[in-house]
Symmetry: C2
Subunit: 151 residues, 2 copies
Amino acid sequence: MSQIKVKLAHSEALKFAAELPDGRRVELDSSEKMEKAFTPMELFLFALAGCTAMDVQWIMERQRQKVDKFEISVNGTRREEDPRYYETIDLEYALQGQELRKDAVERAIRLSQEEYCSVRAMLNNNVKFNIIYTIQTGNELPQKYTYSPKK
Amino acid sequence: MSQIKVKLAHSEALKFAAELPDGRRVELDSSEKMEKAFTPMELFLFALAGCTAMDVQWIMERQRQKVDKFEISVNGTRREEDPRYYETIDLEYALQGQELRKDAVERAIRLSQEEYCSVRAMLNNNVKFNIIYTIQTGNELPQKYTYSPKK
């Protein structure tokens, strides 16, 4: 589907209920007591990380690379002044699998970052990315690599 | 807090669990049966809408404008080709309140769009916005206005 519709309704203070047409919903808030709600900037990081995570998972499968474990850690650092966007986003892809090849992992990340990730493709140069990835093939410690964008 | 950390862990197929350090979590997926999960692009729209919703709510309070009801509708249209970002985002702010002034509403939206909204400030020109707002002060039909960015 190429159209996505969302409705937000205010409840109290800075609380809003966000809902999709099929009823799936998330509570949004910005306060000390968040309970089960999320801030917009938290949801943004979920969206960004989820987008590239799914790309990499999908591309690794197409490359017939067996991934036993896959985690992504994201650390967003906001500006102190308004607008308080993420001026830096540190992104770490951690993959485990006996037969993982560095070139295949790097290629999957590159395809996501430069060609597939829809969230990434909407971001401007206000946001600087630091991207690393780790590969663990056996019982040794994970090997760590820095990803450098070509563009 | 100026740093936000998120961790994603792969479970199966394109399913990932996204978690914040305090344990709040969202399930991410991309399939026909979404159950309680969200796609990254759905979460992105929640983030964008939530960001400007909170700004406008906050600014209206500072302007001592009493808002009885406030909803935002967002309609994102994705590209057909990769990366499938939103090439158009239609945003509608719907406000109700006896004493609402058009200039105050327009000012709140402008401040959010141009100065405060952190998510908005990270977006590039791939994304075109169509923004309208409606104001209902009494029992008449809501009045509809088009918002034009100054920048």
